[in-house]
């Protein structure tokens, strides 16, 4: 296990793509094992692809790209503008509300962050927002997108932790809105101090807001339809992703009349590449998964953790702290794949609902994507905005703090996270 970890970190920090770093590290277990033939490494790669819940990954990636081609994004931007651009730090508030609304149609923080950096970033900087502040609002705000259902992070957690994806989706809604509130409050405080202005002098008229909401109705309805379809027994949580794609195409072709055949093919092409990136990491990490189980690492970690404390909330906070530190350096998909199988049984034994823990774990590891030195959402945003990481980091501190406060608060309040799943699930 130690050798495996050393190989992984050495290769990753030397710049090898994470998929190969984790693949070579995992393969080393089979090469050096005296009892398990090396060909079983290949079996683990193949078998990882044969999980039905995992099909949700290509579905929601494709649905996200389809949505972008159906005119949903501009409608949601108009809607966000109407709702909050009159507040202090207006454009930054728009970014955060847009991340929340996009949350209902997109499952990926990185995709949302890149889109906002491209579309809203230049406008914000032109209006006098600092480069680092712009990057921080967009990157950290995209955590909201990943928390509101659908969520690729929650799908992966449900897949490896064997937890109901339907319940996880319901559980993500309230934390997503709490993060939105915390982020907006932080923007308001910073904006007042720096004199970042509102975009307009007074709130928009009720008519204007209603008009924008009405225009965006098919996007705003989508997460609701999604949850109803799961709850109503038409689809299992694994199948609902296929429905999401069909819905996106239907909205694009029939309702918005903006999806062309060219756009349809482009969305497929973009999705194929994204699926290749995500799935190669997942498939190759199948070898590490086997090594972790075979070496009985979960039992070892559980014994060590429970030696420190057996108070559920203390253990959860210890795990979250560990995940936060790990998240500074390790990509979130890898963290979920490696650590959910270890931590879920531990917290479940202590009586923590795995759905509650899933929201906390997913939030912390996804937040890792927004912190240096390793963070995919951060790279995407800083790359597009040409923003130095140091500047980004300084400006992101208040937002990181706000999100951490929300997460720690949620750790103590399972009732808030579980309210919707218990009500409908």
């Amino acid at each position: 296990m130690t050798l495996l970890a050393i190989i992984f970190f050495a290769l990753m920090f030397a710049g090898l793509p994470i998929a190969f770093a984790i693949g070579i590290a995992g393969f080393s277990f089979f090469v050096f094992s005296s009892s398990i033939p090396a060909s079983i490494g290949v079996q683990q790669i193949a078998t990882t692809s044969q999980s039905f819940p995992l099909l949700a990954v290509p579905f929601f990636v494709l649905a996200g790209h389809m949505m972008n081609r159906t005119g949903i994004t501009p409608r949601l931007i108009t809607c966000s503008n109407a709702l909050v651009s009159w507040m202090a730090g207006g454009l930054a508030q728009v970014c955060i509300v847009l991340s929340t609304l996009m949350g209902g149609v997109s499952g990926s923080a990185v995709a949302d962050a890149a889109m906002e950096a491209r579309i809203l970033g230049p406008e914000m900087m032109a209006k006098g927002y600092s480069r680092g502040f712009t990057g921080a609002v967009i990157a950290v705000g995209s955590l909201i997108t990943a928390t509101i259902p659908p969520s690729l992070g929650l799908i992966l957690y449900g897949f490896v932790g064997n937890v109901s994806i339907g319940r996880l989706f319901l559980a993500g809604i309230i934390p997503g809105f709490l993060m939105m509130a915390a982020m907006m409050l932080t923007v308001w405080l910073v904006a007042r101090k720096r004199g970042y202005r509102a975009e307009s002098a007074q709130p928009p008229s009720f008519r204007v807001v209603m008009r924008a909401v009405y225009d965006a109705k098919w996007a705003l309805l989508f997460p609701i339809i999604l949850l109803v379809a799961i709850r109503g027994g038409i689809f299992t949580a694994s199948e609902v992703g296929a429905f999401a794609v069909i819905y996106a195409v239907f909205v694009g072709v029939v309702l918005h009349r903006e999806l062309t055949f060219e756009g349809f093919r482009a969305a497929l092409a973009e999705a194929v590449e994204d699926i290749g990136v995500i799935m190669l990491i997942i498939l190759l990490s199948g070898m590490v998964g086997y090594a972790v189980i075979f070496e009985q690492a979960p039992q070892t970690v559980a014994a060590a953790l429970l030696g420190l404390s057996s108070e559920p909330v203390v253990v959860v906070l210890l795990i979250l702290f560990f995940l936060f530190i790990a998240g500074l350096f390790i990509e979130s998909t890898v963290l979920v794949l490696m650590l959910a199988p270890i931590f879920v049984p531990i917290v479940t034994r202590l009586g923590v609902d795995p759905v509650h823990f899933g929201i906390l774990m997913m939030s912390v590891v996804t937040l890792g994507g927004m912190t240096p030195p390793v963070g995919v959402a951060m790279y995407a945003v800083c790359g597009i905005l040409r923003c130095p990481v140091e500047e980004y980091f300084r400006e992101s501190l208040p937002f990181l703090l706000a999100i951490i406060l929300v997460i720690v608060g949620l750790a103590f309040l399972p009732g808030v996270v579980l309210f919707l799943p218990n009500l409908f699930g």
């Binding site: 290769l11 990753m12 920090f13 030397a14 710049g15 090898l16 793509p17 994470i18 998929a19 190969f20 693949g23 070579i24 393969f27 090396a38 060909s39 079983i40 490494g41 290949v42 790669i45 193949a46 692809s49 044969q50 039905f52 995992l54 099909l55 290509p58 579905f59 494709l62 038409i234 299992t236 199948e239 992703g241 296929a242 429905f243 069909i246 497929l268 092409a269 999705a271 194929v272 590449e273 994204d274 699926i275 290749g276 990136v277 799935m279 190669l280 990509e331 240096p372 030195p373 390793v374 951060m378 790279y379 800083c382 790359g383 040409r386 923003c387 130095p388 990481v389 140091e390 980004y392």
Partner: protein, 165 residues
């Protein structure tokens, strides 16, 4: 116009993705109406592993696989190139080993049936060695270009990337 094998791979991958969506959607719809299609989800799952491999190869061709360039970016260009070539050769060995072992495993257990479908599970296992060969070929292309003094192996020069100061 990209070379013919790239066009073909792209077409097949897109067709696979679309087929998987339709198969799973149809399975759910058919079951709702009381006529479960048992092969539909199985077939989708089988096609999925091939989609993963083709997608991974496309991403490697376009150098889109996520890596940590935080430290490498701080190295002088010549150094960075050497690191990348070493990593590239290591990865090539890894892919070669997987391809060889994958063929052996596929042949060893060819009787294994895929789910309850009656077709051989070799269609799943076999995707791994085929995928590894494709990735290895793409990687060799990148390595050759790098050794000739052109682009890097894994990093995309034109990709948006944070500025180092």
């Amino acid at each position: 116009m990209p070379p013919i094998h790239v066009v073909l791979e792209e077409f097949v991958a897109k067709a696979l993705l679309a087929a998987i969506v339709v198969l799973v959607f149809l399975a759910a719809a058919a079951r709702t109406f009381g006529h479960p299609l048992i092969w539909s989800v199985d077939l989708a799952q089988l096609l999925f592993v091939w989609l993963c491999m083709l997608g991974a190869n496309k991403a490697l061709r376009r150098k889109s696989h996520i890596g940590v360039d935080f430290f490498v970016l701080r190295l002088p260009t010549a150094m960075r190139r050497i690191v990348e070539i070493v990593l590239g050769l290591l990865t090539l060995g890894f892919l070669g080993a997987l391809a060889y072992l994958g063929v052996r495993l596929t042949l060893l257990n060819a009787e294994r049936i895929y789910g309850d479908s009656g077709i051989s599970y070799a269609w799943v296992t076999g995707a791994v060695p085929v995928g590894c060969v494709l990735l290895a070929l793409t990687l060799i292309g990148h390595l050759v270009r790098c050794l000739r003094g052109g682009a890097l192996v894994f990093l995309r020069e034109d990709a948006p990337r944070p500025v180092v100061e």
